[in-house]
């Protein structure tokens, strides 16, 4: 089995006295795609944000390549340079052109030479068919195009893994396909991804494993087809029937 990239051990997270994560454990190996499913409010977004230290956890541990991220010597900014996060609402920077959105991280966080990164960014845009839109501002693009640019913006950081938070949920149904196609391509090329999603078809076809989150815990986890087609837990079955 390949190397463990991200490991969550009994992660706990509370907002005031509202416990959202009650001991979540999950591992993600290199080249693996894991889909995180669960009802709205079950804590999927919170889990992803804990994984890249946007939220401070209240208990348990998060490890990246075996290194605990709770170690006081760890710099959260450096951690985040290795972990891409893509949002439901894209969150492109409206005051920057498409290409500048993509260049911001590599140039100002990684301090890489602008010209070199620019060539790479244009290549990435070429791959998603948006090279001609490089100088446009995000509000000129459709939702699907914006989300694909957001994914490319994360990829330009050459991250070790991608976290994707319901990246198709804010899209017009006709635009969902182009984003899922891009994710499928990335999966095929071996990109390591943790994908919070309600797209069960995508999970079944692309994910290696699926984890079902409820009551702040992963209550069922396994190969995608096993969990989705033959859930062992009643709660998983009930959830799958509701989203179907």
């Amino acid at each position: 089995m390949s190397e463990v990239v991200l490991a969550l051990h009994e992660v706990q997270k509370r907002f005031k006295d509202h416990a959202v994560l009650n001991g979540v454990s999950l591992t993600l190996r290199r080249h693996e795609v894991v889909c995180l499913i669960g009802a709205s409010g079950s804590g999927k977004s919170t889990l992803l944000r804990c994984a890249n230290l946007l939220e401070r956890i209240d208990g348990g541990d998060v490890e990246l390549f075996g290194q605990s991220l709770l170690d006081p010597r760890v710099d959260p900014d450096r951690v985040r340079r290795h972990i891409g996060l893509v949002f439901q609402s894209f969150n492109l920077f409206p005051h920057l052109s498409v290409i500048d959105n993509i260049l911001l991280g590599p140039v100002h966080a990684l301090k890489r030479p602008r010209a070199e990164v620019r060539a790479e960014a244009l290549e990435l845009l070429e791959r998603i068919g948006l090279a001609a839109r490089a100088e446009d501002y995000p509000d000129r693009l459709s939702g699907g195009q914006q989300q694909r640019v957001a994914i490319v913006r994360s990829l330009a950081m050459r991250p070790s893994l991608l976290l994707l938070d319901e990246v198709t949920s804010a899209l017009d149904p006709t635009l969902v396909g182009e984003v899922l196609d891009l994710l499928t391509d990335l999966a095929r090329q071996g990109t390591t991804m943790l994908v919070a999603t309600h797209e069960m078809g995508f999970a079944r076809d692309v994910a290696h494993r699926v984890a079902f989150l409820e009551g702040g815990r992963v209550i069922e986890e396994g190969p995608a087809r096993d969990v989705l087609d033959h859930p062992r837990e009643g709660a998983t079955r009930a959830f799958l029937e509701r989203v179907r």
Partner: protein, 294 residues
């Protein structure tokens, strides 16, 4: 036609009233012309026909006295209201530059997150609370009469105009800091999350992502504060600095005619009206842009 609710037939009622149509068409133009003449003419009539109208015009709007106040004549004991404006102008220019910088520093301190900066955060919060709560006039008295009493060499030996300028900086920085801070807080949280997720530091996120977006929302309220600042340079007169208002006051008590005040008012209008119009233009443009985006 039947009512969708109870199925009863209802008569179609689709036409605007005669009055509405009249006002909407060329009648509207006529109506606004008529109402303009009536309102403005009415006000002018009150001004001209009031029992004391002539006296009032003599004391406030006499062209001879206005010109005399404007150019001044120190040999007769009064200063030029026009030259006095130069004092207002340099006080404003200096105060404006300092207010924009000090306000930004205060806002940055309040918005900082580092635990090391905690005392600065606390001080900046206290500062904005205190100086937004004290009338500017009192700040001017405290600084203008207080600092000279300190006997602190350089600090205690400045001109009234400098103390006035310093007081304006002290007060207005607190307001401007809040304008900056509101602008930063108006940027959606997702922008911060996206930037930090790329591994950009808090400082780089502010500089490259948040501030460039905040600037646009901040400029109109900032200009409003600067317009107020321009006018409030007149308050410096209470310390005895010979700026335009003070010159008008001296003229008034020397010649027993208040036309100097009118001159000062006109001079302030010449300064502020272009800025007010410009601010309104920016607000309208921003609104149009937001409507186009939505």
């Amino acid at each position: 036609m039947t009512s969708a609710i109870d199925g009863e037939p209802v008569p179609p009622d689709l036409f605007a009233s005669r009055r509405q149509r009249l006002l909407a068409g060329r009648g509207g133009l006529v109506a606004s012309a008529v109402s303009g003449v009536v309102v403005i003419g009415g006000l002018a009539a009150v001004f001209w026909l009031a029992p004391g109208g002539a006296t009032m015009r003599y004391f406030f709007f006499n062209p001879h006295f206005m010109w005399q106040a404007f150019i001044g004549d120190p040999s007769k004991g009064f200063y030029s209201v026009g030259l006095g404006l130069l004092t207002n102008l340099w006080i404003f220019a200096l105060a404006e530059a300092l207010v924009l910088v000090v306000g930004l520093l205060l806002a940055s301190a309040r918005l900082s997150q580092s635990p090391v900066l905690f005392p600065f955060r606390l001080l900046a919060t206290a500062y904005t609370d205190v100086f937004r709560g004290i009338p500017i006039l009192l700040v001017i008295f405290i600084v203008g009469f207080g600092l000279p009493e300190l006997n602190l060499g350089y600090v205690s030996s400045q001109s009234p105009a400098v103390y006035g300028c310093a007081s304006l900086v002290i007060s207005y920085s607190a307001y401007v800091a809040e304008v900056y801070r509101a602008g930063v807080l108006s940027i959606p949280h997702g922008q911060l999350l996206a930037s930090r997720s790329l591994g950009l530091t808090h400082a780089t996120t502010m500089r490259r992502v948040i501030l460039p977006q905040a600037v646009r929302t901040v400029i109109p309220p900032l200009l409003n504060d600067l317009i107020s600042l321009q006018k409030d340079t007149a308050l410096v007169s209470v310390l005895g600095a010979i700026e335009t208002t003070r010159a008008a006051q001296i003229y008034g008590s020397t010649v027993f005619n208040f036309s100097g005040y009118t001159v000062a008012a006109i001079l302030f209008l010449i300064l502020t009206v272009p800025m007010t119009r410009f601010t309104d233009h920016l607000i309208a443009r921003d609104r149009a842009r937001r409507l186009a985006g939505a």
